[in-house]
């Protein structure tokens, strides 16, 4: 697959705690603000959405594209990040 970003590696390296939503890989300033407006201000809230969608890649990326206008690459990056975090810590 594509090489993972520094953001991705640092996110999956430790429990997410109270990290903001922008700590997720694929979620930058603009997407982060849109998510915050909808109540997804912390990374763990997005994790909750990810889990309630049964960790399904298609559903989650579709939701993320819908919710904050992420493109395919950003949504997939965020999905990978959460999935690997779950594999490590859940």
């Amino acid at each position: 697959m594509s090489s993972t970003s520094q953001k991705h590696r640092s996110f999956i390296a430790e429990p997410m705690g109270d990290k903001p939503v922008t700590a997720l890989s694929g979620i930058g300033e603009v997407l982060g603000r849109k998510l915050e407006e909808q109540g997804f201000d912390k990374a763990f809230v997005v994790l909750g959405q990810f889990l309630v969608l049964r960790k399904d890649g298609e559903l989650f990326t579709d939701w993320l594209k819908d919710a904050c206008g992420a493109n395919n690459r950003q949504a997939t990056s965020c999905y990978q990040c959460l999935k690997e975090w779950c594999d490590a810590f859940l």
């Binding site: 309630v52 969608l53 049964r54 399904d56 559903l59 579709d62 819908d66």
Partner: protein, 180 residues
Amino acid sequence: MTKLSSKSDQEIIDLLDQYGLKHGPIVDSTRGLYEKKLEDVMAKDKVKTSSDKTFYREEREEITYVHYRPPIRNEEFGDGPKKYTSSEIIREPESDFSSTPKAYYKTEATYRNVSYSKPSPPKPSAAQVTGSVKEKTSQETRLIPIWFQILAFLVVAGFLYYTFSIMETPQENPFNKQDE
């Protein structure tokens, strides 16, 4: 379809199961996503069912043809059974399908009765040829109406083009003569 947002969570879940979509719990944050997915699937499904309907029509017409054909040749036996079979066939679609196909079959049947009774009594050679052509074309109506429609269109188009080309040639000749 348009009332997905007014359905209860349980109804949404039932619909998702019905269309074989994977889903998790329906909560406020996921409901919009699932409604969208359902709309997409239902829109696709609608197209499929409408194409199925045309397929049924073809089948019905095939059956009516098989029942109808023999009585024409044996004219003495024809009248009684012919009416019964045709009326039976008309009733079947009435019970199975909605009102639009029903009207379609009725007009079909009446049309056929008229078209067959006309060409049989007068029998000059030219009329026989046109009669056999009519039989052939109406055969195809019952077997595959789309074929027949395309064929009829091509025949009409060819005929019109033929007449057009015939009419054009005499016009061209005087025109050329004028130029020269």
